[in-house]
Symmetry: C2
């Protein structure tokens, strides 16, 4: 698998293991890694042109975060989803993310608001053209564009690990339902941000997550 072409070049100020970790995260969050795909330490190390050492640190971290599995004997795989895991992810997202958005609200300035509006425009375009890869990317950017406005050193990394777990499954959705049926509540969220209405934002995010997870859930059961 050609990995280097899909990954940011290494910033030499960063450690090799951080570079590999960030890159693998990016590949997972963008839906580049499909559930079931498998690797080896040496294989990833060769792809990145580093030794196995930084790969072990990066991959082991992702394994401990539940994004990857070390299993099926001696292979690193993108975790398979199960119904019960999915239900827990849904609960965790619904209970944490709206609150996280609420915490961030007061830190969203007009510059960031415009950024969000722009991201949402790109998202709509991706939906209308059926571009799943872009849909996944912009949806992530929209949510974390809100969350990252605040500084939440505990909740933000926690929520990121949730996204690492379900993101690989967007690809499956796309293969089945396409993007045409996708709904979101981003417009309501943007309005709530404009109004600085915390309750409205929390409700919008809750609805958005619920809608998105319902959609994913349907694909899971087919």
């Amino acid at each position: 698998m050609d990995i280097l072409s899909k990954v940011e070049p290494r910033d030499l100020k960063l450690n090799a293991n951080e570079w590999v970790y960030n890159s693998l995260c990016q590949l997972i969050l963008s839906g580049e890694f499909v559930p079931g795909i498998s690797f080896t330490f040496r294989g990833i190390a060769n792809s990145f042109g580093v030794s196995t050492m930084p790969v072990r640190e990066a991959a082991n971290r992702l394994i401990s975060e539940g994004a990857l599995d070390m299993s099926e004997k001696r292979r690193i795989t993108v975790s398979q989803m199960t119904q019960s895991k999915f239900d827990e992810l849904k609960v965790a997202r619904l209970n944490l993310e709206p609150h996280l958005a609420g915490l961030a609200l007061n830190h969203i300035n007009s510059k960031r608001l415009n950024l969000l509006i722009n991201i949402d425009k790109n998202l709509d375009y991706a939906i209308s053209t059926g571009n799943v890869v872009d849909y996944i990317k912009y949806n992530y950017q929209f949510h974390f564009g809100i969350y990252e406005a605040g500084s939440s050193p505990v909740l933000l990394p926690l929520v990121r690990t949730l996204w690492l777990r379900f993101s690989p499954f967007y690809r499956i959705v796309a293969g089945r339902a396409g993007t045409q049926t996708m709904k979101d509540f981003h417009k309501s969220a943007i309005d709530a941000i404009k109004d600085k209405d915390s309750v409205a934002l929390i409700n919008a995010m809750h609805s958005d997550i619920l809608e998105g997870m319902e959609m994913l859930n349907e694909s899971l059961n087919e």
Copy 2:
């Protein structure tokens, strides 16, 4: 620091890095590690009688989970608590743990119930005798005795990382307020389990967490 004497001997079926990881977790969760205490990879490796390799994997994992910090330049420390981190931990706990308890309720059989009753007895004794170490231990056992009854592959590890973050601060509480003022809602929780009353259990856990975190919070501000 003499670590080996406070740690389970190595089970040779386990990898060295898992042994080190579990041991460090145990030391953190039991309040053995106080905030600010610092280590080096080589130091820990010597304490455990292994090379730095498994220590790096274990410690890096704990760092990524937020339990340890690699900072203050080249030292591994138990993270300092801040008010904002604490508030986030409180929110996360209140939003996840009661629900986790609710999921577990139907899997708590009479054997486990008796175990919980017994743990709570030991907890009361620890409180009355001012034994903080035992208090921390039995409080952990009580909560996770409930949570672990269900199988929650997502929420349970998530919640465990929250406990890894605030547990070191019990020691500070103890040094200030003692155990005498400690209240809990374990009796209500036990009653709810007996009645198989999900709502009552969720409420009891919520109150218990709120109470415990309020107590910790007071110590944080002194």
